[in-house]
Assembly symmetry: C2
Homo-oligomer: 128 residues x 2
Amino acid sequence: MISQTAEYALRAVIHMAKCRESSLSTRQIADATEVPIAYLSKVLQSLTKAGVIHSHRGLKGGFSLVKPPEDITVYDVINAVDPMKRIESCPLKNTSHGKNLCPLHRRLDSVLEATENAFRSTTLAELL
Amino acid sequence: MISQTAEYALRAVIHMAKCRESSLSTRQIADATEVPIAYLSKVLQSLTKAGVIHSHRGLKGGFSLVKPPEDITVYDVINAVDPMKRIESCPLKNTSHGKNLCPLHRRLDSVLEATENAFRSTTLAELL
DNA sequence: ATAAATCTGGATATGCATATCCAATTTTAA
DNA sequence: TTAAAATTGGATATGCATATCCAGATTTAT
């Protein structure tokens, strides 16, 4: 349902939420979350660019959450590394309904919508 | 959310549901659903093995649904080609909760469950 | 019987998500 | 000022989902 990358990102930010006080290095997060350190490094870069976490370079550097866990949703994290794609238009060309969704894709998109809503309404604080 | 393969399988069986009377060749289905014919061939083989459709070899052969569209669910079709995997146990080794799910994976699995229920309760007949 | 149409199954190719590696840069502490 | 610790970003490798190709087997119509 969610990509491996999104799973890793969620594990990382949840661990950071548990250690709110200090800035954590890539290695510390990798050890705690069992994510391959080199790959985690890329994931943390994505989260940084998306503004979910802060990075601090140099000795004693590391990463920390930008906002308190109550204000960060699962949706925010997933979107930072692997954005959900809703079905905007029917993928078939030769169709009678034009760009409107056919029954199949209407149904699939409504499931996507429900999933998106579930992610939007879950904060990191609820996952500690 | 669902794989490309599952999407192709759904397009195929829905088209077959629309042409219930006759047996359709791979080419006919490929043309109607805009699925690459060689790949569709593999998808139809999976659906056959799973007992969702019948295959008829030889001249005038092709594929047809085993059951009426009212009795085939989206879940049946997806499961035939790309089974949904619920989260049975926490993917982390070093965890305090043992094989029980942590809050994150409990939440993710409940979303999976909701998705599974949506697919189980939708029949092909509703998608025509 | 024969030819044509069609499925079957194995081998192979392609593309993207996942994963690794390393040199360069930045920052802190002594 | 120097050394150590850490992020950054580019290059590269790996694995799996997706996609293609083709020779063989099966069935129908004539």
